[in-house]
Symmetry: C2
Subunit: 200 residues, 2 copies
Amino acid sequence: MATRPGILFVLSGPSGAGKGTVCKALMERGLGLNLSISVTTRPPRPGEKEGVNYFFRSKEAFEEMIRSSKLLEWAKVFDNYYGTPRDFVEEKLAAGEDVLLEIDIQGAMQVKQRFPDGVFIFLIPPSATELQARILGRGTETEASYRARFGAARQELAMMREYDYVVVNDVVERACDRIAAIVAAEHCSVSRNMHLLDEW
Amino acid sequence: MATRPGILFVLSGPSGAGKGTVCKALMERGLGLNLSISVTTRPPRPGEKEGVNYFFRSKEAFEEMIRSSKLLEWAKVFDNYYGTPRDFVEEKLAAGEDVLLEIDIQGAMQVKQRFPDGVFIFLIPPSATELQARILGRGTETEASYRARFGAARQELAMMREYDYVVVNDVVERACDRIAAIVAAEHCSVSRNMHLLDEW
């Protein structure tokens, strides 16, 4: 019997939604999701580990990955490249294992082109006020960069309609409960279980 | 702000799948589902209570409900009528509450015509062998009626493709876990949450 392919779950959303925190908490639940690690050209921050937080590569190595189609999606943010290695995702899915990508909206839309059957989850902060507080809470923002980030986040919210699910990140563990439910429900979708008709 | 409508969940599936048992266990979980009680013309069995197991009505009263469009779906099985009262379902949904229907496949297909946005869940036994055992286990079947029921169940299985989700009833509590996940996930579907775009 051919292995049924795994499911690709894409966790995405506007800046300030808390994607990283939710993703980390979700991976601790042991739902059988394989987290895709991004590749970047930005230098590691203190404490970041190769192959855990990112694969750290030179600009030249990254551009070679682009040329040889080794990336599912990539973007240049200021002077740094970020991307999703293709092999990991394709190999896990082919082996019947689920994969989790935590990426920005632009990247998610690139992935959707290639994996229309993926499950696209849009994480949002509970309110505009809360988003404001979170951006300011980072304490690293100037007034101008805050305005830019907040404005961008509001615009990004309209991209919700391109997704399958929207999860409000009010409390991290509750957001994880919702995503865990989405994972379980998607495994029950009829379109992913047509093989059952042959087994009878 | 207008109340958002509740979600209609329809639990259905072939004969012998265990719909009744799963439905009962599911209702004990307190997921906020309002169970629709069917109306029937068959006489109450020992222990069955009016308004709990069924609404018991005369043939004349039932036929009057049909004429006055008080039923979402109905069927005549041998000499008895069975149906789903419309008012309960429509009132709960309009009040923003979820409703659970536990009905056979024929009834589910009627409901789907009227509520294409409903969530249609197909419950199946874990295997053909298990279905066989369950039908025989009732101990009330003759050889001929067993063959008829088993053949019908296999044919009914092909109706799976008309549903949104398929839940294997291997263990009742696990089947309930899956349905609870479907309920939670559907509340996160983007199409049911477009109001979030207005709230920002």
